[in-house]
């Protein structure tokens, strides 16, 4: 069963890796991705993530199950934080465990690409000068997600 967590708390990368690593003797490779708030040199100070409680968990569960089937994973994990996060703070964790590396690597890329435009999260940026704005959806992200269709 995919491990799906939506939380305002930080996550522990070591613990998450240990869970995937210990799923079964058949695990040969883990692929982990961590997205964090990137300082862009434009005065950005923090991001606030809003989501649609209930739908978020449902979509992430479906996404995880799709990845398990498609890439023959032993399991996967998706953790997404909500609320306000400063520069350098983790936003999202995706992890895939498979018998072989190719499947694990592909599944993690699939999960993060699909999650960006397919799960009900919205980002707002706060700047040092007090400005604040919703982040626009990027066509490149739509293309990356569609490349897995």
């Amino acid at each position: 069963m995919p491990r799906i967590v939506v939380t305002s708390d930080r996550f522990d990368v070591g613990q998450e890796a240990a869970r995937l690593s210990g799923l079964s003797a058949g695990v040969g490779g883990l692929s982990l991705f961590i997205g964090q708030v990137r300082g862009q040199g434009d005065g950005l100070e923090s991001l606030t993530l809003e989501h649609y409680p209930g739908m978020t968990e449902a979509i992430l569960t479906q996404l995880g199950q799709e990845a398990v089937e498609r890439f023959q994973l032993l399991d996967c994990t998706i953790i997404h934080r909500v609320g306000t996060m400063g520069i350098g703070e983790p936003i999202v964790f995706v992890g895939s465990a498979a018998a072989h590396r190719a499947e694990a690597l592909q599944a993690t890329a699939f999960l993060i690409d699909r999650l960006k435009t397919g799960a009900p999260f919205w980002k707002r940026e706060q700047f040092a000068d007090g400005r604040s704005a919703w982040v626009d959806a990027k066509a490149a992200d739509d293309n990356a997600a569609a490349a897995w269709d």
Partner: protein
């Protein structure tokens, strides 16, 4: 049985609308699409109409699953409108 549906707004749409949700009563006996629901909302509140028109990439979910604008809305459903998602 009530013919009411719950309409939710998220992110920039919620901010523009100025509230998190509306309750809408569906016309009795009719099959109502998401498009028809948008018309009802727009008739009830001309400001909403203007907001929807300024948001060409509006997305919709019916009962927490992504849907299309010809999707059918039934009494008791939870319909959510929001801008394109920007997670990760």
């Amino acid at each position: 049985m009530t013919l009411e549906v719950t309409v939710l707004y998220f992110a920039s749409l919620r901010e523009q609308v100025g509230r998190e949700q509306d309750k809408v009563v569906l016309p009795a006996g009719a099959t109502v699409s998401v498009c028809a629901l948008l018309d009802i909302l727009s008739q009830n509140d001309p400001e909403l109409k203007a907001i929807f028109e300024r948001m060409p990439r509006l997305r919709v979910a019916i009962n927490q699953a992504l849907a299309t604008f010809d999707g059918v809305v039934k009494a008791g459903d939870e319909i959510a409108f929001f801008p394109p998602m920007t997670g990760g």
